[in-house]
Symmetry: C2
């Protein structure tokens, strides 16, 4: 949920708010994006990294200049890269967050081809690329190496990552108060150990 | 100039199109942002780097869902970071583009405090931070180390970078056809020599 001046609230259409099966962690936010943004705010503030969400790209059709630059006609555009990037431990970091309500798997259908291509390019350039995947049913988040998902995406077999695979190949991200998601600890474990 | 589906064109209000004093280079674009975007498209395509413009942040006040997600009320927000970031030669890269019509200097008044803070943080994290500064009168672009501008910004003296300082402390960016601005050559010279 993004708060705007004047107390208005705008809910980005891409993120569906759903109460998870087990919402036992009182301090967890309403959705994955909130949790990551709050975690980045905290991590950036203490100087552990510098990671930001890319703004949602908007296609602007009409601007009314009569009262300042006021956008009166525009629509959402699909992000051609990923949601987050920045620097951590001197390395370029790039990742995408995805959640699933399914008990069994994350379908890869909602990962765009250009995002896969982008993350493959990040790896080629020597950056760290991963996904943060939330299985809402289990109230669990995993860090999954982008290469694992790229391989699956490009294979002719099944087009999903099962919960068992997330458990086996991913690293579970611990929750806390500040940050809500201790995802950099999982990054340490995956890329720096 | 951003092209939208249906042939509509939208000119971002922050970039003022002005014909430069010497517009001798036939293939130069209409403005600095265009030139950098086209250069990044080219560099990304040949795999020399992976650098993108961050989308302009928009504050959305009202969305009409009756005909898809259609934004009917929104306004521009100031970028809290910089315009461009990505990865080059394995390093995190972050920069801002500024142009000036002045013959004598780039006033620092149009660089925001949070951008200075952001670039200082990039340097702390071990990233490469710089400005691409265009002196329109001379039709010249310079790569200037962010640290140089941060120092000036924080000093109590004059609040500008003179053309002579750009010549002395900056690296002139050569123009071409593809890419229009060979700015990575200047990055090589400044950070990798």
């Amino acid at each position: 949920m993004i708060k705007y001046p004047g107390g208005k609230e705008y809910k980005a259409p891409k993120t569906k708010v759903t109460l998870s099966h087990k919402s036992s962690l009182a301090n967890r936010g309403m959705n994955l994006e909130d949790d990551i943004n709050q975690s980045n705010d905290y991590y950036n503030e203490i100087g552990r990294c510098l990671i930001y969400k890319r703004p949602t790209p908007i296609n602007i059709v009409k601007v009314d200049y009569s009262k300042g630059a006021h956008i009166v006609d525009a629509y959402f555009e699909k992000q051609s890269t990923t949601d987050y990037n920045g620097i951590y431990r001197g390395k370029y970091v790039d990742f995408e967050a995805k959640n699933t309500k399914s008990k069994t798997s994350l379908p890869l259908a909602n990962i765009h081809k250009h995002q896969i291509k982008h993350l493959a390019n990040v790896i080629k350039q020597g950056g760290l690329a991963f996904f943060i995947v939330e299985f809402q049913y289990y109230n669990q988040c995993f860090l999954i190496d982008a290469q694992f998902i790229i391989n699956r995406y490009e294979s002719k077999e099944k087009k999903s990552i099962s919960y068992e695979e997330a458990l086996k190949h991913g690293i579970e991200i611990k929750s806390g108060f500040r940050p809500r998601l201790l995802y950099l600890d999982a990054v340490d474990q995956m890329f720096f150990n």
